[in-house]
Symmetry: C2
Subunit: 218 residues, 2 copies
DNA sequence: CAGTGTGAATATCTTCACAGCA
DNA sequence: TGCTGTGAAGATATTCACACTG
């Protein structure tokens, strides 16, 4: 159950909370118990007030004069984001990227369990990857209900992304994370997030070009 | 060579330009020649003025009363971003994700050629993936120079990200795209971009939880 | 007294609205 | 006439600065 003040939360805040959770987990592993917004800010590369503001959307988790108890803060953030439970996910498109995600333990580590893998290529159907048998995409609508999945990950090529989305929608999916370089159209009650890592390469290349133009490497 | 007005470009603009390029390429494949900011906006899911403003940072590419010539616009954006050439990239960390990126043709399609793959695991060194022989990470500093790479992609586990970064820095890398869930410290003249797709899953889960709290599915 | 929580100030980003050009 | 390019307005996001508290 979400517990939040009835302000709306900036998109950017959500992205950072994810970062905080990850860094808090690392600190926890290192045996740290308490951290100040200033130190956490340094680790995350953001401004300390930013952190305090971000957290304030959800409640008061800190102790004045002390800081934040790491374990409690992590739990509080996860609860605030609705991450205090397992989310069932189906993945559509078992290419290189899809396989990597299926085998990547980061999903399960963060509470996302892939309960079904789908592809439309007959050569891939039946193959077993990371303990899952690849199923035919056209079974998606029915399987989503059977498997009780709420989130769909699309890792198809660009031209098949919309079709994958259509299957997911028909199955009653609640949210889609789209790794394909294509916009998709969905009913407004379905959440869509786009993951586009090429733009980070573009951005890096651009910034390097800027530095070069400034004569930084000459 | 970059050609831009000497304003500074919003970060968010760069991210969208990447999106425009991809959509323009799709339109081009579909045989379209001209497009208005309004139509492109609809395709990209943004506001038309946004597109015009984004483009205005780099010059005047449109024709009033007509729109934008797709091919010319795409070229102009790529040139503006410094993407009118091939960028040589090295990849460090040949796990599931690293392999997927090496085999993923999207990199080369966008002008990024991986010229070297590195790992510190003796079992992986020597293995051939996508035509590249995996080399020992400790050779990075020397190899980066030999191969003339400018961008490093880090796909190691979290705890080895900083070491990978150190090797890259020693080799004189100009930019780093870090897929590992860890912040890294680098000298200020080196560009760093973080790719964190877990945050999109977090964000999706959170928004679904919000919808549920609003009783949207009840 | 160290460090949170927060209103107020600033900076940044987005959208509007319309002048101006093909 | 239709659509771009752009200043001005509006909306968001970030940072500052300090009152407040354990």
């Amino acid at each position: 159950m979400l517990n939040l003040k009835n302000e709306k939360i900036p998109r950017a805040t959500i992205g950072r909370l994810s970062l905080y959770v990850q860094q808090l987990e690392i600190l926890e592993q290192q045996g740290e118990k308490v951290i100040s917004s200033e130190k956490l800010a340094k680790i995350c590369g953001v401004n300390p007030s930013q952190i305090r503001k971000d957290l304030a959307y959800f409640g008061e988790f800190g102790v004045r004069g002390v800081g934040y108890y790491i374990y409690e803060l992590k739990q509080a953030i996860k609860k605030s984001l609705g991450l205090d439970r397992i989310w069932k996910v189906v993945l559509v498109g078992v290419g290189n990227l899809g396989r990597a995600l299926l085998r990547h333990n980061v999903l399960i580590k963060r509470g996302f369990i892939v309960v079904g893998a789908f592809d439309c290529d007959p050569f891939k159907i039946g193959e077993e990857i990371a303990g899952l048998e690849v199923m035919c995409s056209s079974n998606l609508p029915q399987k989503i209900k059977e498997l009780d999945a709420e989130i769909g990950i699309i890792t198809t090529p660009q031209e098949r992304a919309q079709r994958a989305a259509n299957y997911l929608i028909k199955g009653g999916i609640k949210g889609i994370v789209n790794f394909a370089p294509a916009r998709i159209t969905v009913p407004s009650h379905i959440v869509v997030e786009y993951v586009d890592f090429i733009n980070h390469l573009f951005s890096t290349a651009f910034q390097i070009s800027l530095n070069q133009a400034k004569g930084m490497y000459s």
